[in-house]
Amino acid sequence: MFTFILKRIIHAIPVLLVVATITFFLVRVAPGGPFSEDKTMPPEAVASINQHYGLDKPLYEQYFSYMIGLFKGDLGPSFQYPNRSVSGMIADAFPVSLELGIMAMVFALFVGIGLGVMASTRPNSMRDYSSMSFAMIGICVPPFVLGPIIIWIFAIKLEWFNVSGWGSFQDAVLPVVTLGAIYAANIARLGRGGMLEVLSQDYIRTARAKGVPEYKVIIKHALRGGLLSVVSYVGPAIAGVITGSFVVESIFQIPGLGRLFVLAAFNRDYTMIMGTVLFFSVMILIFNTLSDIVQILIDPKRSFREG
């Protein structure tokens, strides 16, 4: 396993370099600069600011100093907030997104597996159709529709939960549900599919014939194989959940990474954009690797040598 991880890390490095380079030039090439202001700035001021951020140096010099900074772990100062560092702001925002993401994934697994198992044990029944149609809601209703609707019902009309913010349990419920819905839906479908396949296998029939109670059949024998595809889905999905929750963070005003990135894009905060993109890439790589490891551990047919 150790060599597997090592190989992954070694493969990851050129990937990250490519990502950093592409982002760097993409960001610089776009028209307009980061410092256009409402009231025009005298030229000395512009020069002074450019110097502070190193924008007066030729492009390739900026690139090299940025790359060197990367190795030291320094992502540079934010363009939008001149007295803060990008790494500092990411460090503040990431735990929020992490919490939100993990809670959403737990919710999705809980609901998704529940629905999927329920549907698969009585295929083509009313229960099956209704569970799957319910799951479809997660896939077909965009989070920016679902979000405002559940805010309206549960936060404003019923006043059970909070409208926005992130700090207490009441703040968390609605965003977690909104974010987790689509993943719950996909997990439900995958789970159902996987369980159906497994449940038609011979060894399940044998267990049933032997008189093993149904719930034990499911939990002890079927679940492990049936959920394989769920596991392979969850890995990359976690990266997506943690990092890509722009919409949910905007609707609920959650100070996480997604919102940080979107605001940076709109504010042309070059360093922040690059910092967040790089960070996301690292997260994606880490979670893909973790997911592969878990899959290999669960599925006896695969081994680490494939990595």
Binding site: P77, Q170, Q253
Partner: protein
């Protein structure tokens, strides 16, 4: 499981705002996240609102009338010619770290904001001071020649380059706030940008509150400053500023009982509050104008006839009442009514027939041959609705086509520099309560002249007005200028702003005024009966 959720929900709900009120903590919805808290470099309104709690200048504004009142300065005199002002600084004035506040703190602050390297965009607000402009433009190296002097520790003298009738209201602006030299230079040079001195734990201010915490995109917390000279009068213990940029989300947050006050109201909710909770919503005139600006050096807008035609073809009344809502008043001039006592006499008609005649005279009868022009607006719901409405009006009334181009803020601003636009939306909020802040924008040398319009007669009128403090001559000159501005139409005013706010009945000491300045010093929280 559901019952647990319900129970926990209920118990938390009613305590939220009540809890804050009983502790004297004010919850404010503050729009976008402040970039920085340095009074000498920031330009945004959300920043200004927080800075107003942390710092104070020589004079402050009366919360109801905006008349300048003594703050750090307890008294002042002015010479007969209106050129030399002398301020007496009160002995009790202190910085939040205990340092006494002296006249040198003002001299230092002005030196700082006028330093060319600092690049402050509000430096021009000090140009009335003798030699300030020269120093700021790098034409003068010796700051001691600039018209500000500390006669002694508690006496500050400011010498102006020319008589400035609006000087006293002007210096309540944050560009004129003092600065603590020791504190700032601990973290960098006098004219260095982006230093750490404005972070919590480091920032030293002289206002009624002091900075306790600043979690980006989450909340800014300020607490009562015991060193403030008037601390006895301050009733709030703490203020939490929440950066909620989406005004729909902010309104929901207010309605759910998580905010005491907001500075905006989404237009779709105005009707709801006016009907159901009229005591919560406050709409007041605001010193600002929403307008369209032409690039007068680009065809087809070189001709004033064409510009006037487009202006005449706009139904401002419908725009203000049906599209924008919120009691906005259709504009008749560029300067809002009753600005420092001045109300323009011009008016802007909705006259489609005349508009078509103008367009025909300009060479485009019935819109024939009129090129498709780009109409730029910066990304916002309101701008989009206005842009779409105007697009339809011009199509229907003049038979011309405009193409809507939506640009995000920075790109939008940059386009004024590159001049790659034909028409654009714009708005201007007055810096101080005098028509000069509006009319002065359109002289040939003004950096705020986005149309790049240049008219000798206008320049002369404005130059004459600048040297007069005699009334009614001064205002008469402004009237002439305004008339010329509306006839030549390098810009088309659409409506005057109103400020809108949602205020919880638990908040007392909040008063409406035309600059939408609400000093926290006078506010207090009371439980609802």
């Amino acid at each position: 499981m559901i019952s647990i959720l319900v129970l926990s929900g209920c118990s938390r709900k009613e305590s939220n705002l009540k809890n804050a009120t009983s502790k004297g903590i004010l919850y404010v919805g503050n729009g976008s996240e402040p970039q920085d808290l340095d009074p000498s470099t920031v330009t945004g309104v959300p920043e200004q609102r927080v800075i107003a709690a942390l710092f104070e200048g020589l004079l402050s504004e009366n919360p109801k009338t905006l008349a300048p009142e003594g703050a750090v300065a307890e008294s002042w005199t002015v010479t007969h010619d209106g050129l030399i002002y002398t301020f007496k600084i009160r002995k009790e004035a202190k910085w939040s770290n205990g340092d006494p506040l002296t006249a040198d703190d003002f001299v230092y602050a002005y030196n700082r904001i006028l330093s060319p390297k600092l690049g402050s965009q509000n430096a021009y607000m000090l140009y009335c001071m003798k030699n300030a402009e020269k120093f700021n433009k790098g034409q003068l190296a010796d700051f001691s020649k600039v018209g500000v002097k500390a006669i002694d520790k508690s006496t500050l003298q400011i010498t102006l380059g020319k008589p400035t009738p609006y000087f006293l209201p002007l210096i309540t602006h944050m560009a004129w706030f003092p600065a603590n030299k020791k504190n700032i230079e601990k973290y960098g040079a006098i004219d260095q940008r982006g230093t750490q001195w404005t972070l919590p734990g480091k920032l030293v201010g002289n206002g009624p509150f002091v900075l306790k915490d600043w979690e980006v995109n989450k909340v800014i917390t300020v607490v009562k400053n015991p060193q403030y000279w008037d601390a006895d009068k301050v009733k709030l213990n703490e203020i939490d500023f929440f950066p909620i940029s989406d005004n729909q989300a902010e309104e929901r947050t207010f309605r759910a009982g998580q905010l005491h006050m907001t500075y905006t109201v989404p237009s779709s909710k105005i009707g709801y509050y006016q009907k159901n909770k009229p005591s919560y919503i406050h709409i007041s005139p605001y010193l600002g104008t929403y307008y369209m600006v032409f690039n007068v050096n680009k065809e087809p807008f070189i001709s004033p006839l064409v510009r006037r035609a487009l202006s005449l073809a706009i139904d401002r009344k419908s725009l203000a009442e049906d599209v924008v809502k919120g009691g906005k008043v259709p504009a008749e001039s560029f300067t809002p009514p009753d600005t420092g006592g001045y109300t323009a006499k011009t008016n802007l008609q909705y006259d489609v027939k005349f508009a078509r005649e103008c367009l025909a005279k300009a060479g485009f009868p019935d819109g024939k041959g009129f090129p498709v022009v780009e109409f730029m607006y910066n990304t916002s719901e309101r701008n989009r609705q206005i842009a779409e409405a105007l697009q339809a009006m011009w199509q229907t009334n003049l038979n011309i086509k405009v193409e809507l181009v939506n640009k995000e803020w920075k790109m939008y601003l940059d386009t004024f520099r590159t001049r790659d636009f034909s028409i654009a939306t714009a708005s201007w909020i007055g810096d101080y309560n005098d028509p000069l802040t509006f009319l002065g924008m359109w002289t040939s040398d003004s950096t705020n002249n986005r149309a790049k319009w240049s008219n000798n007669e206008y320049d002369k009128l404005m130059a004459d007005a600048a040297f007069t403090s005699e009334q009614p001559l001064r205002f008469d000159l402004f009237q002439e200028a305004e008339k010329l501005l509306m006839e030549q139409a390098p810009i088309i005013p659409l409506y005057y702003y109103t400020s809108m706010a949602l205020i919880s009945p638990q908040l007392k000491g909040w008063y409406p005024n035309t600059l939408d300045h609400h000093p926290y010093k006078y506010m207090s929280l009371e439980d609802e009966k």
